[in-house]
């Protein structure tokens, strides 16, 4: 099957899934697509705490060159990452919530002509904080505003510490990363529009005899949530990430960027229980990525929350 036909099939499946969910809604259009429909770790209105587990699978289908050309992964090669993340969010005050994410990572990798290898281990822990100086719908015609901050700790196995031939047992970036950003959010009837922009910087480090300093990483995510019914919420997200060129022993490397759309479906099973499924994929169009990997993934989250 040619690459274009394969991707046309994936796109068609996504459109069909969206259409089916939108047209088979069990009840009338519901209000209140909430931030929790855009990401499972966010508290919904009135919630004070949540815990959850998210399972994701991402398979590399190609990569982008320095000339921003897409190339499919070579025949016989594969790269599959499975990740199970335990997360908890606590609303210390009505406008501030903090989250802790603890991932467990498994990677299956093989190059053409080599046997596949597996690696697994604890990934990098993330601590995230979200403050909402202006909450959604607090004022007419004024969007909700949130300040976000995060710290990623290098608790996983760094790439240079990996022992497998293809590095499949590397489960972390091996570096502290500090981030911050701002998010705007506005509701329009059953729709929610969210724009989140963040910047993060990994601290410099020495890798064996090599000094590595990193450039800032920028991310902008536009999300549109839709309450298809009182119990089914949809969200479309498009995330663009750009990271400047790192310096390795004073030599400037190459910047990278990619665009990754995602579709999320949230089903409310009870007031304190929701399940969220999603698909994400990096489009195989060269101009949308550079010096980066292209992947196709799916996720499934289960969230318990308390008022």
């Amino acid at each position: 099957m040619s690459s274009s036909r394969r991707w046309a099939g994936v796109g068609g499946a996504l459109v069909a899934l969206s259409t089916a969910l939108l047209t088979s809604r069990a009840s009338a259009q519901g209000c209140c697509a909430s931030g929790s429909s855009l990401t499972p770790i966010r508290l919904d209105l009135h919630e004070r705490a949540l815990v959850g587990v998210q399972a994701t699978a991402n398979a590399q289908h190609g990569s982008y060159s320095d000339a921003a050309e897409y190339r499919s992964i070579p025949d016989g090669a594969s790269d599959l990452e499975l990740r199970q993340t335990l997360f908890a969010t606590f609303g210390a005050w009505s406008r501030v919530q903090g989250s802790l994410l603890v991932p467990w990572v498994e990677t299956r990798r093989n190059a053409a002509g080599t046997p596949s290898e597996w690696g697994a281990g604890l990934g990098d822990l993330t601590l995230a904080v979200r403050g909402e100086p202006i909450q959604l719908l607090e004022y007419a015609n004024v969007p909700g505003v949130a300040i976000v901050a995060s710290v990623v700790a290098p608790t996983g196995t760094a790439p240079e510490a990996a022992e497998n031939l293809l590095g499949s047992d590397a489960t972390g970036a091996g570096v502290w990363r500090l981030g911050g950003g701002i998010a705007f959010e506005q509701a329009y009837d059953a729709f929610l529009v969210n724009l989140t922009t963040t910047a993060s910087l990994a601290l410099p480090r020495d890798v064996q005899m090599t000094q590595v300093s990193y450039a800032p990483r920028w991310n902008a995510t536009l999300g549109v949530g839709y309450a298809a019914s009182h119990y089914w919420h949809l969200a479309l997200l498009a995330s663009f990430e750009y990271e400047g060129a790192p310096k390795i022993n004073g030599v400037t490397g190459r910047p990278r960027h990619h665009l990754e759309p995602a579709l999320l479906v949230t089903h409310l099973l009870d007031d304190g229980l929701r399940v969220q499924a999603g698909v994400n994929f990096t489009p195989p169009a060269g101009s949308l990525g550079r010096n980066d990997l292209a992947r196709l993934g799916a996720s499934l989250s289960l969230v318990w929350s308390w008022l």
């Binding site: 259009q29 519901g30 209000c31 209140c32 209105l45 009135h46 406008r95 403050g131 909402e132 100086p133 202006i134 909450q135 959604l136 719908l137 607090e138 004022y139 007419a140 505003v145 300040i147 701002i182 509701a187 009837d189 059953a190 009182h230 119990y231 409310l268 009870d270 007031d271 008022l307």
Partner: protein, 202 residues
């Protein structure tokens, strides 16, 4: 540049954190108490007649107000419970009124919603959200019990459920009505409200 961002973020957060939550304590009407401003607020019924809240609450010793949103699942989920509550107290000295305060509400919409949901109690239009502002309402399904004097005897939720109803839910509003009828102070008298954020004019 970085310091400017930091200062801007701090100012923004301070602005939000300092926003008054209880309009009863704002100095916009320094000579009127909250009860007086509640009684002076106007609402419109589905026959297009304008009433003061004072008129509305004068017919019963106690009047329960529940704030309405046509699209809020919490309100829709509680329709049957509210109708049952009204049925239980209709012969008591207690009234029940739904109040629509959202900026996109209209009389035509309220007539349709009241009829389609089979509300036996009034659904009134709080045009411009005046009453909601006086009571500091932010969420649909938020419930109050007012005395004839406009004093708030209970502020909170209908019960402990949100979208999904459970048989073991704690009926806060019903318990509060029972308490005020017996001359007692409802407990909890200021519980959290669990509905949807209202789109108000402010």
């Amino acid at each position: 540049m970085g310091r400017g961002w930091l200062v801007g973020c701090c100012l923004l957060f301070t602005l939000g954190a300092c926003t008054p939550r209880d309009p009863a304590h704002t100095p916009s009407h320094p000579r009127l108490t909250q009860a007086e401003r509640v009684l002076a607020s106007d609402v419109v019924d589905t026959q297009s007649r304008t009433h003061s809240v004072g008129d509305l609450v004068s017919t019963k010793a106690w009047t329960a107000l529940v704030f309405f949103s046509a699209t809020c699942p919490t309100v829709s989920a509680h329709d049957a419970r509210l109708i049952a509550l009204w049925d239980a107290v209709r012969n008591h000295d207690v009234g029940l009124v739904m109040v629509a305060s959202e900026r996109d509400a209209s009389l035509a919409m309220l007539r349709h919603e009241s009829a389609s949901r089979g509300y036996p109690f009034p659904l009134v239009w709080d045009r411009n959200g005046q009453l909601a502002a006086v009571l500091g309402v932010r969420y649909a399904s938020q419930a109050f019990i007012l005395s004839r004097a406009g004093e708030v005897a209970y502020a909170g939720s209908i019960d402990s459920d949100r979208r999904f109803l459970h048989d073991d839910a704690t009926p806060y509003l019903r318990d509060a009505i029972t308490a005020v009828e017996q001359g007692q102070r409802p407990a909890p008298a200021d519980d959290a409200a669990y509905g949807c954020a209202l789109a108000l004019e402010r």
